[in-house]
Symmetry: C2
Subunit: 430 residues, 2 copies
């Protein structure tokens, strides 16, 4: 039974099972994101799983960015549901026990993403419909220190303090990130529970953030989604496959980047992930009329077009003036402040909405929403890419009136495991 | 601005707007579920909304059960996401103010379901993709008492106590139910907020329950979904359109039913809704092996087939014996106990899963899940249909070892509003 699996079970147990006829050979599920997608589709071609259904049959089969050794599977249309869980390692977890844990997590993640139940799964049918399932691990500073302190990148630390921050410990930090995403919320629940059971004997949950986006099929593919402010959110997000995407997001061979700063070798093919929990005050935002909203954002709230243009993807003209001599786009609008002249000061955003139940409240004066954005950001180097953007927005951004960062965490995202290895094996070898 | 709308605003404001050229004529959105589906599709035929996308374009356009005056739109494949919110009326709300509230809620629900933003909606774009949105109102005992105490059905009261219950006030009762469901979680969030803002000046939120099912497209249409136990859940659920569905679910003309007991006239075309929150202990369920699970349920957990059959929909043989002389299907298995010889002792189930974040826990011994079923049940008469089933399950059901009802509520579901009227108008006229 799975519950009885402990760190004493040799990692070869799961590897051996992966090579049996019951599942894909281990190597098949470790060749990288693009390979996985094709593999999973082929494996289910004759079955009753999602692949045989029209429409959403493309769950998780979009073109991934490259077949290189990336762990994080970045899709142009992220899954509709995501959970981000940060755990802290128990004091009893040493370097060797952590390796056992990482081997188990790697194995289970690979099986689940391929539509196979992990060893000992008591509800294996819930694993049969991955619906674009992705599982990603990220390492916090303490985890890297435990394995190999000299291999810690300079940027793997809490972000500098920003004056807009009202950070809560309950939403910040963490030793290990487990990110699970799927177009199906039930699939996600099962995969999440599998990973949490793996983690149980080694860690304590620090925080868990559940988020959602529009479901697959609600909007035309390629449509920029709106957030709970109604704002078209992510128009200029660098897309996987675009010219400089790889350079912006992935850490290169030997840890080099094209965005300034270098990372340790072991992160080649990896990236960094910044997660900010941004509370959005829907109550006070409700008091703002459409022109006020347009001005705060710098774009029309209805179409997402810059105030100097007529279509969402029109280039804004920051010099254009009103008849009264003011710039059409307010210099402290969100769009203006987020924009840098330096093309390397860009990030790939991965955002989800949250909207938590609030019971026991009423009356016009009470705030009845606990809503906002789970703002994820992938970049080769947080210090040269994320921080300057956040610093400008912290210094001045009209949107700050209605938003407050209440959580913050930085994780190193290791590359994919090598054949027969585990996520983080390059850190152990560094 | 919507925030400034109070009970002083005459109801004709919204009715008049509904008849403007900006939206469907009010009558068009009040003709019943089947009409709405067609109407909504036609309205969006030329637009960019969900209807133009392949696959999930059928969101909400399945055949509804009938074009009669039913408010509750029962679909064979319920939306993937649902919220159930119970509010209590403030002491200041009298019969007349309640009518104002019900008119506002009716109007906003009709607009939202048709893909139109309510009057004063500050994020109207979030209303453009209903994705099968349904909004349903239910009345608790206190609400009916306030309007017309003599018109309260006998069954509109807390259920009799069952020995398995461990009910919490925080999940039980309520004066008014607002149920919102959609295949898109963002659409749901916007519709929910619209309704909550309407309610704010009149009520206090008592509880809110968020639930999910498999996403549209994950499973082949017609597949019975599994719950978080991995159990195929709802095999014998009477389906909309089946022979005796209408008789089981809807209250007939003059309040008559074919299931025993009568209801007041004003509920003709309505129904009753029982909501039970059932905590499922995934931790102890994990300790049970497959034969133990099969025995507890009376069906094979892998296929959902009765233990005397080989396919999910095979009729169980409760007399079949093992070589040792025991019945193959345990007489206290869940399936056996749920089954009645009386064909009127059946209900239409509408179930969603819940799985709440649990932070700050670790260690093998700790329970780390807060999961279960939001068990909804529609029936013409709870006392003759729901109660006998629940009583048998409470008296003996192997599954009780791992499940605990922690919330319970009963609501009267009024019929659809008459032309120009509001949900509940027949109660006012009774």
């Amino acid at each position: 039974m799975r519950n009885s699996r402990t760190s004493e079970v040799p990692p070869s147990e799961s590897a051996a099972a992966g090579e049996s006829t019951r599942g894909p050979r281990r190597r098949d599920v470790l060749v990288g994101a693009a390979g996985i997608g094709i593999g999973a589709a082929a494996m289910f071609a004759g079955g009753a799983a999602v692949q045989s259904v029209s429409g959403p049959a493309t769950f998780g089969n979009e073109t991934a960015t490259s077949a290189a050794n990336h762990q994080w599977r970045i899709h142009p249309e992220p899954p509709a549901h995501a959970v981000f869980i940060a755990v802290d390692l128990d004091q009893s977890v040493d370097r060797a026990r952590l390796e056992s844990l990482l081997r188990i997590l790697t194995d289970d993640a690979n099986r689940l993403m391929a539509g196979y139940a992990p060893v000992g799964d008591q509800e294996p049918q819930l694993a049969e419909t991955p619906a674009g399932l992705t599982i990603t691990l990220g390492f916090g500073p303490r985890l890297v220190d435990l394995v190999n302190p000299r291999a810690k990148p300079e940027w793997l630390a809490p972000l500098p303090a920003f004056k807009i921050d009202q950070l809560q410990d309950a939403w910040s930090g963490g030793d290990l990130l487990v990110h699970v995403a799927s177009d199906d919320r039930l699939t996600l629940a099962h995969a999440q529970r599998t990973m949490l059971k793996d983690l149980r004997a080694y860690t304590t949950v620090r925080w868990q953030q559940d988020g959602f986006r529009n479901s697959r099929g609600t909007l035309k593919p390629g449509t920029t989604q709106r957030n709970l402010f109604g704002q078209v959110d992510g128009t200029v997000n660098p897309a996987p496959g675009s010219a400089d995407f790889d350079e912006l997001v992935w850490i290169g061979a030997n840890g080099t980047t094209g965005v300034g700063g270098a990372s340790p070798d072991w992160l080649a093919g990896g990236t960094s992930f910044v997660l900010r929990r941004i509370q959005m005050n829907l109550e006070t935002w409700d008091l703002v009329d459409t022109p006020g909203r347009d001005a705060a954002i710098g774009r029309r709230i209805d179409t997402g077009a810059p105030l100097t243009g007529s279509h969402e993807h029109d280039e804004p003209d920051f010099e254009a003036l009103t008849p009264q001599g003011f710039t059409v786009i307010n210099p402290v609008s969100h769009m203006r402040r987020a924009r840098s002249e330096d093309p390397t000061e860009r990030i790939h955003r991965l955002t989800y909405n949250y909207d938590l139940p609030v019971a026991g409240v009423g009356g016009m004066g009470a705030s009845v929403s606990d809503s906002g954005l789970i703002f994820g950001s992938l970049q080769a180097n947080p210090l040269t890419q994320f921080v300057p953007i956040q610093q400008r927005l912290s210094d001045a951004d009209l949107l700050n009136e209605w938003t407050v960062p209440i959580g913050s965490a930085v994780f190193a995202i290791p590359p994919a495991a090598s054949g027969g290895g585990f996520i983080g094996d390059s850190l152990y070898a560094a």
